[in-house]
Amino acid sequence: MDMIDILITMTKIVLLFGVVLITVAELVYTERKISAWVQNRIGPNRVGWRGLLQPYADVIKLLVKEDIVPAAAHRFIHTLAPIISITVAMSTLAVVPLAGQTFTLFGREISLLVADVNVGILYVLALTSMGVYGLTLSGWSSNNKYSLLGGLRSAAQMISYELSMGLSVIGVIMIAGSLRLTDIVALQSGWQWNIVLQPVGFIVFLVAAFAETNRTPFDLPEAEPELVGGYHTEYSSFKFALFFLAEYANMITASAVVVTLYLGGWQIPYLELLELPVYANVLLQILAFAVKVAFLLFVFQWVRWTVPRFRYDQLMNLGWKVMLPIALANVVVTGIVLLLL
């Protein structure tokens, strides 16, 4: 590990960070557009071409607003909470491989992921569950009953869904025999995507991902009509922007992980038969990954504007009485099938 390696990694991080930030901004735009379309409206179309610059106007508006900390709030934790949220949301993407093809630049082989961790899935699961600290701490430190309720709900929800999420991933791990995300993607060549091999696991994981990212129908921690915004009620200005950013960054992360685990990551079936040059391969693989993630992000937003919010007891019932047994059964069935094969 010399200076150039560090520099390469830093460049990758900066690039990834930039891409995620821009995607987050445009996600806010697509969210508003999709909500508008579902309701037969046009949606934002004033700022920039077809309103594409709308999120930047929103960000500027948020930045120039006054940053209010309630008098009774715990100042340190109140500031810390959004930082935890955004850090966690952003750092999960580090282990997701964007393309399998490596290329050489300045005499060095460059792979398209920031860190090839050998316990990639564990890293992802561990970090996504860290996100709950951001929400819970923000709920507690705001010293507001609604925020507290939102924070508590997020904690309960995370615990209920983390389990089924982890268990549904075990099926994938059993098939791949590795926790490294690059290995898992590499195994899904051709049409051997894990969604075909693990349809039940995919559905459980997807539902759990919705719950993990606090998206409708599981957006109980926010629940505008009941909790006045939930955990971020007492946040304004840049701290609120950070929470907002974290929510959408979480969505990107969740989509990327779902794509990596179940939809074949960067794989385009039978692309290797074409024997394209290296750079074309890299570009096509990144494009495939981006398209898959974009589709899942669309599904996230599509579902948000379709499904109403679950009630708290329904959420718990679904998590513990339905998802967990299904995930467990999935592990058992996968194990039996793998033994018999």
């Binding site: 999709i34 579902v38 037969n40 179309n45 599509w302 504007w305």
Partner: protein, 165 residues
């Protein structure tokens, strides 16, 4: 027709596992997404009110350039919001009276149309104008110069009034 009091509905198996029902809902929203948009892009595309619409009250100016108003003060009397002020004066014209001062405070006006209803000369009518945003209080008080409108612009409303009086 039976009166159904028990609205509890037993879900069948496919409804209980949510996913098919959610997919149905998603199909519905997808269809909505592709439908025609209902938005009117307001500042570019303006709404044209029907003749029955009560916009800002205005004074009718005859084609020969004489106002119809004879300054009887009935509109001012009937106005529930006390928005109209009329000062009468005399002229050499056939109609001997005319309003020396006629002011409507558009911030007070509630667009009830009583002034129009009570006017014996059909001199004050509700126009189709609905864009009334002011930056200064003074701008909201319309004098004669703003109120007098050529009769041609108000034809639809006048005809509507005659038909439905």
């Amino acid at each position: 027709m039976s009166t159904q009091t028990d609205t509890k509905y037993e879900l069948n198996f496919w409804e209980k596992i949510y996913i098919p029902e959610i997919l149905k809902g998603m199909k519905l929203t997808l269809e909505q997404m592709l439908k025609k948009k209902e938005t009117r892009e307001y500042p570019e595309e303006k709404w044209v009110p029907p003749p029955s619409y009560r916009g800002a009250p205005v004074l009718v100016l005859e084609e020969n350039g004489v106002e119809r108003c004879v300054a009887c003060g009935l509109c001012s009397r009937v106005c529930p919001a006390l928005a109209i002020e009329v000062h009468a004066s005399e002229t050499e014209h056939e109609k001997e009276r005319y309003p020396e001062l006629f002011e409507i405070n558009m911030l007070r006006c509630i667009f009830c149309g009583f002034c129009e209803e009570v006017c014996p000369e059909e001199a004050i009518v509700m126009s189709p104008v609905y864009e009334m945003a002011f930056t200064k209080y003074e701008d909201a008080i319309f004098g004669k110069e703003k109120l007098l409108t050529p009769v041609n612009e108000l034809r639809p409303r006048l005809e509507y009034l005659r038909a439905h009086r």
